[in-house]
Symmetry: C2
Subunit: 415 residues, 2 copies
């Protein structure tokens, strides 16, 4: 098969049923290829309006606005539940992913004996939170050594749990580095068979990959909203707790928004019935409005349609990698099987840091992940096939010209 | 002394050096008296612009904006430090008050033996958080029974600590209910003499009452930014840790933003040097921009000038209470000594709930605090003396007419 041309890619765009969604986002520079929507999504036009509206509402309604705002964590949570294959009353939007993971993992290990298990390559904040909780509760922290590209397979988990008493497993649905997509259903079943509960981190999957928490029998989930859900830098995260588990758990952070009959301001803490017990402090109203706007766009597009386009975008990327980059010393850092791959691909190169900086100078925004990964995410809501073509074309030209060798080889703190 | 007239109050406004600050806020309805800025502050005009600017920046800079945004918790923290009498590097803006209190109290009790002490009338979320931590760490929770109006006096704390091993004391600088202003310096000294560290909750004081954390030898503080700092509903909170205590403490919530050399994404958690170790997840950029805008206004006005006006507003309120409300069955629910009172006053009435609802119908927005308090806060940045006059005039007319008895006596969930 010959390498496709840019015209072929433009033809894919012309046939793309989701192409119209690009106009729903602010795109101020058509020449810049944004290949890092898996880190921070673009700004939806609706969000600009809705943030302005809620700011006006704060100014006009003042404290009386809380009569409506107080419902936001649950109301936005219910919309997220619709996206994640969960039920109303099982999801809340609140706090950060880190704090939400702390709440759910802390609640679990305080009532269940056994070790805490995660992947050695799990996203750092998840590993750090779990390591802290394991130490606080005097539990063993088990680190699974999964394949760095293919990620955690069910048999890896079965082996890691074998003969051990495991209370809790925490894994990412999609690996932040390689983009490996875990088999949520099979892995959850393995964990349950081993007597453990599972927390899935959906940060790199929700909005790019269909998530079916209910159908997969998942116990808990957390995730951020600033990647494929396009809710803005540091926007509120979410948490999911299966309904039948809620009553038996208490958040370690006993805040007034998790209190039954909150405004009675009673003496003793008594957790609210249902998912609200996992709230803590006052919810961030502006941030929640941005989450709501971002989630609606994803729901409108539909996760199956988004997934189909995402797979096609990434297959196109891999085709160009193989044709153009492999001869230049690159290796694919992501699974080749689309059924086991999420919304982004990584290409590996010894000079990945310099390649990333050089690409930014050529108006392509990728993401560097130490030590050797150039991470490329083309979110299907607003990415075009020609974006993939242009990004790889510029990447090839950069490395062929060796211009990347002019870049300072010391990684900066922020990429 | 005869009761002053509205013209007298208008004369106070004419002489008010801070009167010009009212125009820096959105005030859409001049007939509505806002007496609940101590719950949710008004919207500063600068915030409207700055929220719009940061939203635009998200859309244009996309992920590259993080090169600047990542500094926001510390940069906004430093401006808060200037307001709170702390040093640069001692304050962070992040998370909610609840989560920040959990982090600081959790860090402390994990390395110090002894009981946890708070006031029985402390703000609910603080009591709940401390009760949870005490249980998790198997510590005694001591509840001080302070005077419901005058609040915690140094001798109350000395007595409560006498003969006991206390690790940590947590108190509000200003009581959310009565408005009692604690003697921060004397109480901190009593706690230190008893071998305890102190966390002050500044939610109801910062922006209305000068705070001098350094001069008072304070160990820790937390506070919200949506009251007198006018940063919006659910805006990010802040935390203070005295510099010499930082290195010896670890947040129980080990997040990636608290990790040394964060983007190396190293295997083991190692807390960042300094105050950054008390960060957890990704900071809320939009919310932090609103905090920055709110804090600048307070710094510009100056906390001594704000305090002087705040005392005068509340003295005026108490004068009207005594003249008009006491004969109608009200009692003052706040200290009479202005040196022991914060930024708001409470008036107590058996039908406080109905009085509050009736007032809202007459375009005065107070706050109900169960069971019997009508809480009135006139933040000095934007409140006028005639607002106090009009609010009490409408309150008197409401109760004289007995129209409040027409209100449904069942408190709604949100007030």
């Amino acid at each position: 098969m010959s390498t496709p041309s840019r015209a072929d890619f433009a033809a894919f765009d012309a046939a793309d049923g989701l192409a119209g969604f690009r106009d729903r986002f602010v795109v101020d520079d058509e020449n810049r290829i944004y290949a890092d929507g898996n880190s921070l999504g673009r700004l939806p036009r609706a969000t600009v309006e809705q943030l302005s509206a809620v700011t006006t509402e704060w100014g006009e309604r003042l404290v009386t606005g809380w009569a409506d705002w107080i419902e936001l964590p649950g109301r936005v949570g219910d919309r997220l539940a619709a996206l994640l294959g969960a039920q109303s009353g099982e999801v809340l939007a609140a706090d950060s992913t880190t704090v939400n993971l702390y709440k759910l993992a802390g609640a679990t290990v305080s009532v269940r004996a056994g070790a805490v298990l995660t992947d050695a390559s799990e996203f750092p904040t998840d590993r750090y939170v779990l390591a802290g909780l394991a130490e606080q509760h005097d539990r063993e922290l088990l680190l699974l050594e999964s394949d760095p590209i293919e990620g955690v397979r069910p048999e890896d988990l079965a082996q890691a749990c074998d003969g051990r008493d495991v209370a809790l497993v925490c894994l990412s649905h999609v690996s932040y580095r390689s983009g490996a997509l875990a088999d949520m259903r099979a892995i959850t079943e393995v964990a349950h068979n081993a007597g453990a509960l599972v927390i899935w981190d959906l940060s790199h999957s929700a909005g790019a990959v269909p998530v079916r928490l209910g159908a997969c029998g998942v116990d808990f989930a957390v995730g951020c909203s600033y990647k494929y859900l396009n809710a803005g830098p540091g926007s509120p995260a979410y948490l999911f707790v299966r309904r039948d588990l809620q009553e038996g758990l208490r958040s370690p952070i006993q805040g007034w928004f998790g209190q039954r009959d909150q405004f009675a301001m009673g003496t003793a803490y008594e957790p609210a019935p249902g998912i609200e017990r996992f709230l803590a402090g006052t919810p961030p109203v502006l941030g929640l409005v941005a989450v709501a706007a971002g989630v609606e766009l994803v729901l409108e597009a539909g996760d199956e349609a988004l997934r189909e386009k995402s797979v096609a975008l990434n297959q196109a990327a891999i085709t160009l990698h193989d044709a153009w980059l492999a001869p230049l010393g690159f290796e694919l850092g992501s699974p080749r099987d689309p059924d086991r791959r999420g919304g982004h691909v990584s290409v590996r190169h010894l000079e990945a840091w310099r390649v990333c900086r050089g690409l930014i100078e050529r108006d392509v925004v990728p993401d560097f992940r130490a030590p050797d990964s150039v991470r490329l995410g083309f979110p299907p809501l607003y990415s075009r096939f020609v974006d993939v073509w242009d990004a790889f074309d510029r990447l090839r030209a950069l490395v062929e010209s060796e211009d990347h060798l002019d870049v300072d080889p010391t990684p900066a703190r922020v990429t």
